[in-house]
């Protein structure tokens, strides 16, 4: 049996997910939300340790050492790292060899967040945008935010949970540059945005940049970039080079940890791109604060779940 252009097995029949699968989605969503709040991902820990070793400013070094100490305390006492329980966001990677009911997945994700909030308990950080009524569940109309992607040929479903902190999310920017602004325009926009954000997003940050697409797609790309594992690079060499260049320039701005000065303003710069209209040159910026909240899992149609890295925190084609 051969494979088609996107890796699907020819002639294969999708496995139908049963009731145990949706129970597992709910339980995994609950577990991932809490894990993302308590357990700083390994790549972020490494990046913080390396930043501490490189940092030349005394105050900045002291702040980075407190950050390291905080991560240790959260590990030892099983506490959440930061008080901000965030806006719950999921990426769902749907294996194309599994037949699933998307509505039941969405309901299970919401139920998992609500159960974590009630049982842990966790602060509810979600409210109505006008009345500001807080349902005390960390959910609401269109929350959790869910992004759907497809995993060609896979016989499982992947989840990436990002409880997005507000300090960094409030420092989000979009600019519809012109083709004449060119790559220099993108560089300028990124550097100006990081300076404007200053201390607010809890630096050192992971700077996520979306380039191209439409206005809406550009911001989703920026968020996608912000939740990529540190150490991954854009597969296009032009953009990979721009990631390296911008990281160096951002860290020469002197904003430093918590914005009180130093060499470590960003832990990483990630760019995700899409082709765009001939009149357009969109660029969006979305940051993760230093704790880089993220937790992932793979769920099989029979309900078995494996926590750990998934393909969703790496650059992906769809």
């Amino acid at each position: 049996m051969g494979h088609d252009a996107v890796g699907r097995k020819r002639g294969s029949v999708a496995v139908a997910a049963g009731g145990a699968f949706y129970d597992a989605v709910e339980e995994t969503a609950r577990a991932l939300y809490i894990k993302a709040l308590k357990d700083v991902p390994a790549d972020i820990r490494t990046a913080i340790t390396q930043a501490y070793a490189r940092e030349q400013h005394d105050v900045a070094k002291k702040i980075l050492s407190l950050i390291v100490r905080n991560v240790e305390i959260a590990d030892e006492r099983r506490m959440i790292v930061c008080q901000d329980t965030g806006t719950p966001i999921f990426w769902v990677g749907l294996g194309t060899a599994v037949h699933v009911d998307g509505v039941r997945i969405a309901e299970a994700l919401r139920a998992g967040i609500e159960r974590a909030t009630r049982d842990h308990p966790l602060r509810s950080s979600v409210c109505h945008p006008l009345t500001r009524e807080n349902p005390q569940t960390n959910t609401g109309y269109r929350i959790p935010v869910i992004h759907w992607e497809f995993l060609a040929g896979a016989e499982h479903v992947e989840l990436l949970c990002v409880p997005k902190g507000s300090g960094s999310e409030n420092m989000s920017f979009l600019r519809m540059l012109t083709p004449a602004d060119g790559v220099d325009g993108i560089r300028r926009f990124v550097l100006e945005s990081v300076v404007e954000a200053g201390a607010n997003p809890c630096p050192p940050c992971i700077v996520g940049i979306g380039v191209g697409g439409s206005a809406d797609a550009c911001m989703v790309l920026a968020k996608r970039a912000a939740v990529r594992r540190i150490g991954t690079h854009n597969p296009d060499p032009h953009l990979a080079a721009l990631e390296v260049e911008l990281l160096e320039k951002i860290n020469s701005l002197g904003i430093g940890p918590q914005g009180v000065g130093g060499d470590t303003t960003a832990l990483a710069v990630h760019i995700e791109h899409a082709y765009t209209h001939i009149t357009q040159n969109p660029v969006g910026l979305n940051m993760q604060c230093w704790r880089g909240l993220r937790a992932e899992a793979r769920i099989h149609p029979d309900g078995r779940a494996e926590l750990g890295n998934s393909s969703l925190s790496a650059p992906r084609p769809f």
């Binding site: 305390i73 506490m79 409030n170 201390a199 809890c202 000065g261």
Partner: protein
């Protein structure tokens, strides 16, 4: 660079000697406020139920567990202060607040108000809530529970620090200094790298079609 211990209520004389770059540790009573708390006081004109004179305010909305009629702290961290910048001056002028513990800093108007009234801004490490929570001995009282989690909190803290004096009562601000230096560095970077003129204003650039 001095290291000081502060125990509210604080007087102007306690605050004035502090200078940007000093380190402080807080003992005793610390009040927690956030967006909704301050909106209620200043936009909905409801006087706070407790005396704020001499108080230190923490910009926070904690994770708590209710046990009987008391709340236990699960995670007490710090939120971005700049969002609540416009409440700084009236908190100092009308209520005699002596300082803030926050992250992200406060803006120019607040820096001026803190110089005029004698108040200080202490930076705590944002995101380091697990560490911070170990310094919270108890939640003594909670007012305006309907705003949960953005209530008016009364925390009892022990040796909460190190806290960096980043805005003092003499008009100095680490945040302003760092931002000014970053802007300077930014213009150097752009002058070096830019082959053309500045990016056109989105308002007057050709759009569409």
């Amino acid at each position: 660079m001095a290291e000081v211990r502060l125990t509210p209520p604080l007087s102007e004389a306690d605050i004035r000697p502090l200078r940007v770059g000093d380190w402080a540790t807080l003992e005793g009573t610390l009040l927690g406020v956030r967006d909704a708390t301050l909106i209620r006081i200043f936009d909905h004109h409801q006087a706070p139920p407790i005396d704020l004179s001499g108080a230190m305010l923490l910009h926070t909305a904690p994770n708590v567990r209710k046990v009987g009629d008391r709340y236990e702290p699960l995670s007490v961290g710090t939120t971005t202060s700049t969002r609540m910048d416009r409440f700084t001056e009236p908190l100092l002028r009308e209520y005699g607040v002596r300082g803030f513990i926050g992250k992200g800093g406060l803006l120019e108007g607040s820096v001026r108000a803190m110089a005029e009234h004698g108040a200080v801004y202490l930076t705590i490490v944002g995101g380091a809530a697990a560490w911070q929570t170990l310094h919270i001995e108890a939640i003594e009282a909670v007012y305006w529970e309907d705003l949960m989690p953005e209530c008016l909190w009364v925390f009892m803290v022990r040796s909460l620090g190190p806290l960096l004096v980043s805005i003092d009562s003499h008009g100095a601000s680490t945040y302003a200094d760092v931002k000014q230096a970053a802007r300077q560095r930014l213009s150097e970077l752009l002058a070096k790298g830019q082959s053309r003129g500045p990016v056109s204003d989105p308002g007057d650039s050709p759009r569409g079609a």
